[in-house]
Subunit: 316 residues, 2 copies
């Protein structure tokens, strides 16, 4: 048979007689032939693979997000791979390059050091893009995000009303949108509450970062009555330090987190935090990405804001 | 210039005069040309990408393992992608197919429903393979694992010595090697300790599974004095139920986990558990994989067993 016939058998793009198909498949099996997905994807320009890029896979918010995304794209035949960046620019750029070089059909991106402008080049290369953050004007980049600034302002307002103006924040990053927006929300609510120069310690979005931040807050100046932590990992580290020093939570220091990860209900006292549904965010991103990849939607960029909610438990 | 010259400019495989290189690069930039990694990888058969396959990315043991692997392969220029299977056979097979179709250079695999025999086909297709579990006789499949059976036997011996023969186990899976081996270790230690027919509840390796298992243990028969949980997620769920019923840990029921995830020191009381260093396991797997991918090692299969250690905290 001709190479074209063999190709038709394996691609399924053209009908082949049952006898010929059987013969080709038998020979292929005997030779151990396996169609190369790389060669196939070169021709069809489809890989059936998408990439989700996250800053820290050990923060359980992100595995939940990945699960939501996977569950949402799987029925359409796509498989989601995860890339972890450690919030480092070089890693973010390497993964954007990987997406642009057409090894995947789409990308869901949470950048700390790169943003919509960098994603525009990926979208222009014909890759479907969903940014977990702000959208970019002009580019066909869909986005879905939480309103981090509003959420932080609400949590700060709750602390001010309950514990007064002796308030501080431990933030995880000054540059990344999530760190910047949560700080802006905190500072805005402090201004509204007439708090003069509230203390902000910037560390990183990890339990170790939370420990460092709380050590610094307790190391100098007056002990704050309430501390807003920019995520739950930070709050868990802050609680480690308070417990080690014999301080009571919330009687001596109240603590609020952000995300509502699983550990928020494992820690004692259970953590008051802003619930942001990571699985739902992943599902929303997946839905937008699939409609772009299939061509079902070809219009201008869509921007969604997912809901958040303050969950009051015992830590504040 | 000829297509061959353009190819030489971008592949870097042959020298091209500086003037010609500059000209080609200028034109390419003006046209927005980007070398296709898919086409390149078809020719060079290198993707610089490896795949790590895990059963449950929301169990924080696995993100830590991924971090250990990434840190270990990055210096050699490889990037690790993560695939999550939900411990489902179809997903495991889909990811093995993906590896075989040469979209990655190597695979680190933790299978619940497939095993060394299935990996043999991947290795024969020329893909570097490290199995997180037992090795396969005859195939060039490196493996690295913990001695789950021994670890469970040791933890069981600790509970028997401290709390007597009223002991039970909550396991996460009857078929997967990790579930089977931990149960064998538990039952062997029970035989040695002359415990007649110890109770074993099989659920799944999650916090929800642990809740179900503990509900069942408390729902009928005599309440066990000590419970061995097949991983920390199960132990966290078991503790949820004990607390909800007002039972004291360890005074009424002692609980031991397995893995030493971050949450083991967040929960109250802190969890007695077997520490298995997920990052170290990932690093060992990465080192073996890299030496296979680079061709530095071409010998027969290597099998490593990583160390574990019982960490006694307050839950038992």
């Amino acid at each position: 048979v001709s190479p074209t016939t063999v190709s038709h058998v394996f691609s399924g793009h053209r009908p082949v007689s049952p006898g010929t198909r059987q013969h080709v498949e038998d020979v292929a099996r005997r030779l151990g032939y396996r169609p190369s997905a790389v060669a196939r994807s070169l021709r069809s320009r489809r890989t059936d693979t998408i990439l989700i890029v996250v800053p820290d896979i050990t923060n359980s918010f992100y595995p939940e997000l990945v699960r939501g995304l996977q569950d949402s794209v799987a029925p359409s035949g796509y498989y989601a791979m995860v890339g972890n960046t450690d919030a480092e620019e070089a890693n973010e750029r390497a993964l954007l390059e990987l997406a642009m070089s057409r090894r995947v059909d789409g990308i869901v991106f949470h950048g700390f050091r790169t943003g919509p402008a960098d994603l525009a080049a990926v979208a222009e290369a014909g890759i479907a893009v969903v940014n977990l953050g702000e959208g970019a004007a002009g580019a066909a980049i869909d986005s879905v995000r939480f309103d981090d600034r509003l959420a932080a302002a609400e949590a700060t307002g709750f602390l001010l009303a309950k514990y007064g103006r002796s308030i501080a924040m431990i933030d995880g990053d000054e540059v990344a949108p999530v760190g910047r927006d949560r700080r802006l929300g905190f500072e805005g609510a402090c201004r509204d509450g007439r708090v003069r120069r509230p203390r902000v310690e910037v560390t990183e979005f990890t339990r170790a970062g939370g420990r460092r931040g709380m050590e610094r807050l307790l190391g100098r100046g007056k002990r704050p009555r309430a501390v807003l932590c920019a995520n739950d990992m930070i709050a868990l580290g802050a609680i480690d330090v308070l417990k080690a020093r014999g301080l009571r939570i919330p009687d001596d220091v109240a603590v609020v987190g952000h995300d509502d990860v699983d550990a928020a209900t494992i820690v004692s006292p259970p953590l008051t935090t802003t619930r942001t549904d990571a699985r739902q965010l992943g599902a929303l991103a997946g839905e937008m990405l699939v409609t772009r990849m299939t061509g079902e939607y070809r219009g201008k960029a869509r921007h969604q804001v997912a809901a958040h909610q303050l969950v009051v438990r015992d830590s504040a």
